[in-house]
């Protein structure tokens, strides 16, 4: 209806297909859940599950033998585990960003992807969350990181950024979950009322909490949702800032830098959106959601990739400049060592993937060219992982005392743990797609022309 048209006066591709009717929303989105399981889904889930098994094997061996099975050593006492942690957390940022910040900014194009990206956030945070525990030398004492009244009368040490991490990540996980669930309540109600068998209706009904869609409900609901968005916005910024403090609080050259918080947050959004693109393109294709996830979305996401990519590039630039400007020989050596040292290839990959790749998005043709977009998003995902590798490993392997320098490389078990979390992530994603409406029907209804029932 006209109200909608006014939303974007410029001639941009619409945020939702022209000919989508009100009832299509139910039919096509709820349909995905109610339809019988497809062979494609089974195969996809099966493959993901195999990697989950690999993950389980790696973790079991890890607990049995100790983290010595990884490549970590002294001086490089942090390796894949922390790299993966930071990378996954970063990916976990796009979801809340899209749901919360874009909501506050009235970017209505977020509507058709927010549910999906929130789910992605949750699963990414879940994958990230395992690493702080896995990487402990004595994981069975992980609970010592929580302030509980122990009979030893000894407590955690709150000056440590790792403690901040514990709270930041757990808070982020919890709030994202709440946010996601609140958003789901009306759709659960829809599913409850669409469901055929009584069993299904009961199941959905439990989650729907008896949602009736009354005006009162909607009023309070929108208020709560808005407040949650308002809370999630500073949260999402704070979380990766705090993760970055793990490094910038340390004195290691290449860590000890004030630019880290903004630069990490940008990096997080960067990798997060890259992951969204990577996932949404195939799903959009297989589940024929072109009408709901339109070229407009992809175009916008490509732009965000470009912007955040530029910010990240600026981060690299400043690091280098400050290293030279500070006159600190350790900082200078760190930069030179990154570029020309034994790990020069890491630096090269980072620059290519994170700085050069997004530049192609200056061109609109590239932004809307799906294969290019997909390839670029993959490159950025890799690039951001390698960037964290650069920050963690390349900074540590040559710090202050040459006599203690060393080299690092991941082992078979490092890699299997990383791949394992991919499996975990995808498996959860498959289950989500299959079991829960992956787009917010309640919100989509606001975007389509309202119906007019025939009188009988």
């Amino acid at each position: 209806m006209p109200a909608l048209r006014q939303l974007d006066p410029l001639e941009r591709p619409p945020v939702i297909g022209e000919d989508v009717r009100y009832e299509d929303v139910n039919r096509r989105i709820a349909g995905i859940v109610t339809a019988p399981t497809s062979k494609g889904w089974l195969i996809g889930f099966g493959v993901a599950f195999l990697f989950v098994m690999l993950f389980m094997a790696a973790v079991t061996y890890l607990f049995a033998r100790g983290i010595g099975i990884w490549g970590v050593n002294v001086p490089v006492a942090w390796g894949f585990a922390i790299v993966n942690f930071v990378w996954w957390i970063g990916i976990g940022h796009a979801g809340t960003l899209i749901s919360a910040i874009l909501l506050l900014l009235h970017q209505e194009w977020r509507t058709s992807i927010n549910r999906f990206t929130e789910a992605m956030t949750l699963f990414a945070v879940a994958c990230a969350g395992v690493f702080p525990i896995l990487h402990l030398g004595r994981p069975w004492f992980f609970y010592w990181l929580f302030p509980y009244p122990s009979e030893m009368q000894i407590w955690p040490q709150f000056r440590s950024p790792l403690m901040w991490d514990v709270f930041a990540v757990s808070t982020y996980g919890t709030v994202s979950l709440l946010f996601w669930y609140v958003g789901l309540i009306p759709d659960f109600a829809t599913m409850r009322d669409l469901a055929q068998t009584r069993g299904k209706r009961l199941l959905w009904g439990v989650f729907a909490l008896g949602w009736r869609g009354s005006a009162h409900h909607w009023k309070q609901y929108q208020m709560a949702y808005l407040l949650l968005a308002g809370l999630a916005t500073p949260l999402v910024v704070s979380v990766h800032s705090i993760v970055s403090l793990d490094f910038s609080v340390g004195i290691v050259p290449g860590w000890h830098s004030t630019i880290f918080p903004p630069y990490f947050v940008a990096g997080a959004i960067f990798s997060g959106f890259a992951m969204v693109v990577t996932l949404i393109l195939p799903i959009r294709h297989f589940y024929h959601l072109e009408d709901f996830i339109t070229i407009r979305h992809l175009d916008n996401m490509a732009k965000i990739l470009l912007v955040t990519g530029l910010i990240v590039g600026y981060g690299y630039l400043m690091e280098t400049f400050i290293a030279w400007y500070s006159g600190n020989i350790f900082e200078r050596f760190m930069v030179l060592n990154r570029i020309f040292g034994p790990y020069w290839w890491v630096w090269a990959i980072v620059i290519f993937c994170n700085v050069m790749t997004p530049q192609i998005f200056w061109s609109k043709r590239m932004r809307v060219n799906l294969p290019v977009l997909f390839a670029a998003s993959l490159a950025i995902n890799v690039g951001m992982w390698v960037e964290r590798y650069m920050i963690v490993v390349v900074s540590l392997h040559r710090d202050f005392m040459p006599g203690a320098w060393g080299m690092y490389s991941g082992t078979f078990w490092d890699w299997s743990t990383l791949l394992g979390t991919f499996g975990l992530f995808l498996a959860l994603l498959f289950l989500f797609i299959r079991g829960i409406p992956m787009l917010s029907m309640a919100e989509l209804r606001e975007l389509v022309p309202s119906p007019r029932k025939e009188r009988k």
Partner: protein, 216 residues
């Protein structure tokens, strides 16, 4: 009839939520209590011993001084467990053929050592030193409890870190005159506050709560 749930389900659902919250509280309280319970710390739990040795009898009954058997308590980290000969110095005269002393005589004859079960045991990463505690006026009783009332030996206190800290933070509450260190059931006079303050100053008892004080 298109109602999915029974009218009672409203009340039920809210009850369940409330219940879950209470459950968490209850469980954590129980855990807190458990790890401080005698059941967990083995406090006042008697162990199977080769000989049913009674401190009650030897200390309050016969009035034998602690150091008579625990000879090195003033000079070493270990208080010292009496060797077979020490026991035999009396038991070659009295109770010479008491059945339950057979293992003792056996030990002297064969030279095989007696194997007691530890009652007051600290983890290997805790380095406790008896001599300094004695020197600073901490009575046996303060850690080992009323040994003179123990027919069979058992832990007098939990010996948990928190318990140690109670004294290391404020020795005044427990310190006693050196001549009273070995006595059981010592009553401060006039009052522990007064005596404690005086003795802490007199003995220069400034225990540390540094980690290295006990862990090395």
């Amino acid at each position: 009839m298109s109602q999915l749930f029974h009218p009672a389900s409203n009340a039920l659902s809210r009850f369940l939520i409330a219940g879950a919250l209470c459950g968490i509280a209850v469980i954590s309280t129980l855990a807190y209590a458990y790890f401080r319970s005698d059941y967990f710390t083995h406090r006042s739990l008697t162990q199977q011993q080769p000989i049913p040795f009674s401190h009650a009898h030897h200390v309050s009954g016969l009035g034998i001084e602690c150091q008579y058997c625990h000879t090195t308590v003033e000079v070493s980290s270990y208080a010292g467990i009496p060797n077979t000969e020490t026991c035999m110095s009396c038991h070659s005269q009295i109770w010479t053929n008491a059945a339950y002393l057979a293992p003792l005589r056996e030990s002297l004859r064969t030279g095989n050592r007696l194997r007691w079960t530890r009652v007051n045991d600290l983890p290997d990463y805790v380095f406790f030193n008896h001599s300094i505690h004695i020197k600073k006026g901490i009575g046996c009783e303060s850690c080992h409890g009323r040994v003179d009332k123990m027919p069979l030996m058992s832990k007098g206190h939990s010996l948990q870190m928190g318990w140690c800290l109670d004294c290391h933070r404020d020795p005044g509450k427990f310190i006693r005159p050196r001549e009273e260190v070995y006595s059981m059931g010592y009553v401060p006079n006039p009052s522990q506050e007064v005596v404690g303050k005086k003795l802490v100053a007199a003995y220069d008892a400034k225990p540390k709560t540094d980690c290295y004080t006990c862990h090395r």
